[in-house]
Symmetry: C2
Subunit: 342 residues, 2 copies
């Protein structure tokens, strides 16, 4: 199995994450990648390489041009305004306010943010682009005929919407990879999001399209971030009606229940008949995850990797979340091994 | 001139305000009130008393019931969830997300917030209610026949919307006072908001009503908080069409320009013919204000107090913002003296 990884992920490591009213060391940190790499090597998955250069074209098909310009220039603008900290949004266009982009950098920050836990730093844009290049390179491997590949992306991507960052995400790596499959000739692509958190960004991007099926298993929005998307009645709009499947689950959901939801999603994907499957792979469904509430055991990750393999479809794994760092390596690699050994 | 003030304002003093990506000592702090009180006494305005008990009825006419329940209970819920810091919203229902209130306290916090600089603490609800009682008590003095009264409110109110807090505001004191004038028999009330920041909350509350005229002079939303409301083309909706007047102004606006805008607002108020005028009095238009960008000198505050007096209408002053603490006393009291001496 080919694995793509970039050391440039380390360029993004904010000092602070706004959590519980305090600025704490971010749960989403570079060591997550180090633990996954260590475990990959332990089990002999050592075909690891660096990404090719970023292809901007599919990025520009997925994200708003103004948003991309903002990500590329915001840090310099922030510093030149004399701001001393990292960039954290402190106001936003709330209910009944207007959706116009301000001129002021603090206002623009709020305009392009969907959450405030995620700080932008000097190295964020470089790291986000490197992460996207990781996904793109792995996508080409699967598009080239491989059964699977693993994009060890960091920062993750599934919360990044058309024109908003948040939830640790800036560029939607999975969505960009889906667009590449389509641009290369695929008729249909499925994105299966098994991260604990709803993939609001991916849903947002493909909500009115039928060429990408989005299926997400996640903590119910009443109880879990991102709170304001991910309900079961969000089924798509316009041409996309019926091509968005949300499977929200309650606190303390055990694997037996989660696996049933997975089978529902897999059945929907089989029915859809995509040319490729992209798995938004977050392992924060683990019982010890510090910011999540499902109850999966490490062995369950192996089991569901095998179930995904049962689709018999070209499958690209794209790394998303997972914050129980001591176990992130085992749990992530268990999914890959379950898939490979099936 | 009767002045109403409550020491309970001190119950709200967060340790941190999210500003420039850092948690700093809040610009909106109890000493603001102390400096105003000192100056009032210096000039002989010593008819200062405590507020009567809060009347909930008008509060419930202005704010959403779920929002008021949230303010009353959120701190206990936050603490019982094990959160260690003060309450600062870290996610919110952004563009194209759903406006459903989550069950989780962190989600509810984002649902009811329009900005993240404002922390909720153990004493916030008590202080907000005391501040509202200050406005209510001063309102009754004007309704009872006095030419004017000064509600030395803290925390301020004009950013608080129907169902959202933010910008240091929780209950919209000016809006609640306006509702009281109407409930007591007034046909029309005007709110003149001279705070540097747009009174987005007051606009939100009365946007579809013709019984309250809202006029606001403020920093242009392209450049100034709250960024996402306050454009000149926001003129009201439905029955409220034509009863909302926004006068946004550019960075470095001097008093000569500001005073012209004031005359535009005063002419509109004269034309409207209200039974009472409520002045949302923020003195952050001062040239030294640390978070604002107009260029008023201290003497200008006296001048515009006199211009407001020229309306010849019963006038309730309700304190809003102003963060140049060394000068907040002089500037605030200059407005009152300008009014009284006219």
């Amino acid at each position: 199995m080919k694995i793509i990884h970039s050391d440039d992920n380390r360029l993004h490591f904010p000092q602070g994450e706004l959590f519980g009213g305090e600025l704490v060391t971010p749960f989403e940190r570079p060591s997550r990648v180090e633990y996954i790499l260590r475990r990959l090597k332990e089990v002999g998955l050592t075909d690891i390489s660096a990404p090719e250069a970023l292809d901007r074209a599919p990025v520009e098909k997925i994200h708003d041009a103004g948003y991309l310009d903002f990500l590329a220039t915001c840090w310099d603008e922030w510093v030149s305004e004399g701001m001393k900290g990292e960039m954290i949004a402190a106001s936003w266009p709330a209910r009944r306010m207007v959706q116009k982009r301000p001129r002021n950098i603090d206002g623009k920050l709020g305009y392009y943010a969907l959450a405030g836990e995620t700080a932008i730093t000097a190295g964020t844009w470089a790291a986000a682009q490197a992460s996207c290049a990781v996904a793109q390179t792995a996508q080409r491997i699967v598009a080239g005929g491989a059964r699977t590949a693993f994009a060890l992306c960091r920062p993750p991507g599934h919360h990044a919407a058309l024109d908003m960052y948040g939830g640790y995400c800036f560029l939607n790596n999975a969505a960009i990879a889906a667009q590449m499959f389509l641009d290369q000739g695929a008729g249909r692509v499925a994105v299966l999001d098994v991260d604990f958190h709803h993939g609001n960004g991916t849903q947002d991007i493909f909500y009115d399209r039928s060429d990408v099926l989005f299926c997400s298993l996640h903590g119910a929005p009443e109880d879990a971030f991102p709170y304001f998307l991910g309900y079961a009645d969000e089924t798509g709009a316009g041409a996309g009606e019926g091509f968005n499947l949300n499977l929200p689950m309650a606190p303390a959901t055990p694997y037996s229940v989660w696996a049933e939801a997975l089978e529902t999603a897999l059945a929907r994907i089989r029915d859809y008949g995509p040319d490729a499957v992209i798995v938004s792979l977050g392992v924060d469904t683990f019982k010890e995850d510090p910011i999540s509430f499902f109850r999966l055991e490490s062995a369950d990750f192996t089991d569901y990797g095998a179930r995904i393999a049962g689709l018999g479809m070209p499958t690209l794994f794209v790394m998303e979340g997972g914050y129980a760092i001591d176990d992130i390596g085992v749990n992530t690699v268990n999914v890959l091994q379950g898939f490979l050994d099936a």
